[in-house]
């Protein structure tokens, strides 16, 4: 609805994407997960995707990452069709998924090794370790790290490839409240620093309002983008300001309503 003027400059564009999964206990049937999703994200924009659980947020992220393919519709990054996974689209999960057999340093290097450019880019590893504040942990193994530290390694590992789009699938969801708030600032810091386009899936509405330029609200069964909300607050944002709280109750109300509507139709 508001995207038409952004199409030309969009870093990521999703056009009428549908995806359904077979229902295993009833052969021959399938359950729609995404029912015609369209949106676009401008370069250097930080957009959040919120919605009830099971609305297909993660499915959508997997499609954008190229790990899965849509039944119909198109996904484009810089106007090029997504044909499979690529280092141009980094993905960070809720579980950091660090390779436990590699040290912190080797985990961060993994992308460079995978692309065969470790020799030329080795100097960047130190920069990224410093960027996420882990320069002294290079030789530690992941099982020694706390949740927040692991997630920082995962961020550095994704960012070292200089992705055009960074996809974040509830990256802070498993952290305790304090660590999470600190990490929100760190992710924002990374974003302001590098201006990487980010798409953040979250179920935490405060997090979405605190961090993003724009929020896409999804409904479930099948997943659809129900609303887009621009967040016109300056940064750093005050989580207790009146305008913040107003946005919060607006989105909550909306999700509540959306949830009810889904219940009725189901």
């Amino acid at each position: 609805m508001v995207t038409s003027n952004l199409v030309a400059a969009s870093a990521l564009r999703v056009e009428e994407v549908c995806k359904s999964f077979p229902v295993l206990d009833v052969p021959g049937t399938s359950r729609p997960a995404l029912g015609g999703i369209s949106f676009s994200i401008a370069a250097s924009e930080l957009v959040s995707l919120v919605g009830p659980s099971g609305c297909g947020k993660s499915t959508l992220l997997r499609l954008i990452a190229g790990l899965d393919f849509p039944d119909s519709g198109e996904l484009l990054v810089d106007e090029e069709k997504i044909l499979g996974p690529s280092a141009a689209r980094g993905l960070v999960f809720q579980d950091p998924n660090l390779f436990p057999w590699l040290t912190v340093r080797r985990n961060i290097e993994a992308g460079l090794v995978a692309r065969g450019v470790l020799q030329e880019k080795r100097h960047e590893v130190d920069d990224f370790m410093r960027l996420v504040g882990l320069e002294t942990f290079g030789r530690s193994y992941p099982h020694h790290l706390s949740g927040g530290m692991s997630q920082r390694v995962a961020l550095a590992r994704a960012l070292i490839n200089h992705p055009k789009v960074l996809l974040l699938d509830e990256p802070l969801g498993a952290l305790d409240a304090f660590t999470r708030m600190r990490m929100q600032d760190e992710v924002l810091h990374l974003w302001e620093n590098r201006r990487t386009t980010m798409l953040l899936v979250t179920h935490d509405i405060d997090e979405a309002i605190y961090m993003s330029d724009r929020i896409l609200v999804m409904t479930s069964a099948p997943g659809r983008i129900d609303r887009e909300i621009d967040i016109d607050l300056g940064r750093p944002r005050d989580r207790t300001s009146e305008s913040f709280l107003r946005l919060r109750s607006e989105i909550l109300e909306h999700l509540h309503f959306a949830g009810k509507a889904a219940d009725v139709s189901a």
Partner: protein, 305 residues
């Protein structure tokens, strides 16, 4: 405290001197050396902290070992509770170990060469076939039935066939040991590879990984704990196959030595070979444990076996 061990041992020395035949001077020397060392350590530990720390944990074990030797000697040489040719005293065993040392050393050497050749061959083949079956669907489709049919047959069951087919007994024994190792290694490598967490593979793909990276840098490291379980099981199977193959076909090695000595009713030698075999196998087992601890440092604290 270590003196307790020494005392038990001194008593044992006294019993021993009354009962044993003269020839077993070496055993006396062995026990005397042990006593001397234990006294030295007992005294020395007050001076060197390091020594104390090193010995402290091993002390009960060594005490028990000496007491066990003592009991063995009392039962055999002391009171003649067990029929003699079959159950020699520790002194006699030590004597035959020393008198026959060249042949025993030679046998151990042959066993080692045969074991290592078969083990490495089997482990390598098992690793390769395991990775293929675990990673690729066609390989799994064709490989799994083969594995399920051939795998459970004990390698030793092939001995009659192997003796007919192969020109040399050593060659067929190597192949049989390799076969015995191949099955568990393949099975556990394949299961480790195919159980690689999908999210590791997903992450690697979004980092720009190609197929080679996914196999060699994600799936294989992720499967290593399981691969090591296979290597341990394979090692056990290889010991068994080695001893059986040696006592049936191959004319050298510890397995052959045991059945040969038994043929001459020289049970001192049988026991001597068994003791060496135990030390030999457990050393190799320990080496594999050391290797695993080295390779799987990243797992420290996650596994315990």
């Amino acid at each position: 405290m270590p003196v307790a061990g020494a005392i038990a041992f001194a008593a044992h020395l006294a019993v021993y001197k009354n009962e044993t035949p003269m020839e077993a001077r070496t055993y006396t020397n062995f026990l005397a050396t042990f006593l001397m060392i234990s006294i030295l350590i007992a005294v020395g530990q007050y001076r060197w902290r390091r020594l104390r720390a090193a010995v402290w944990r091993m002390r009960p074990l060594f005490t028990a070992a000496v007491l066990l030797l003592c009991a063995w000697e009392l039962i055999t040489a002391g009171w003649h509770w067990l029929p003699l040719p079959y159950f020699p005293s520790p002194a006699a065993v030590l004597q035959s170990m020393i008198s026959d040392r060249t042949l025993l050393f030679d046998s151990t050497w042959h066993s080692l060469v045969l074991l290592l050749a078969g083990y490495f061959l089997g482990a390598l083949a098992g690793f390769v076939s395991g990775v293929c079956i675990g990673w690729s669907d066609p390989a799994r489709y064709w490989g799994m039935p083969l594995l399920k049919v051939i795998g459970p047959v004990p390698a030793t069951a092939w001995i009659p066939l192997a003796m007919v087919i192969s020109p040399s007994a050593t060659l067929s024994a190597t192949a049989l040991i390799a076969l015995a190792v191949w099955f568990p290694v393949t099975m556990l490598t394949a299961s480790g590879i195919s159980n690689t967490r999908a999210s590791y593979l997903d992450v690697a793909r979004t980092l720009g990984a190609n197929q080679r990276y996914l196999i060699f840098r994600v799936a294989i490291p992720a499967a290593l704990p399981s691969i090591f379980v296979g290597l341990f099981m394979g090692l056990g199977a290889s010991f068994l196959t080695l001893v059986v193959a040696e006592s049936v076909g191959v004319k050298s090695g510890l397995g052959w030595y045991v059945s040969w000595a038994q043929g001459w009713a020289e049970y001192g030698k049988v026991f001597a070979a068994l003791i060496i075999m135990a030390a030999f196998f457990s050393t190799i087992m320990t080496l594999l444990f050391k290797l695993r601890d080295r390779v799987l440092v990243w797992q420290k604290g996650m596994i315990k076996w």
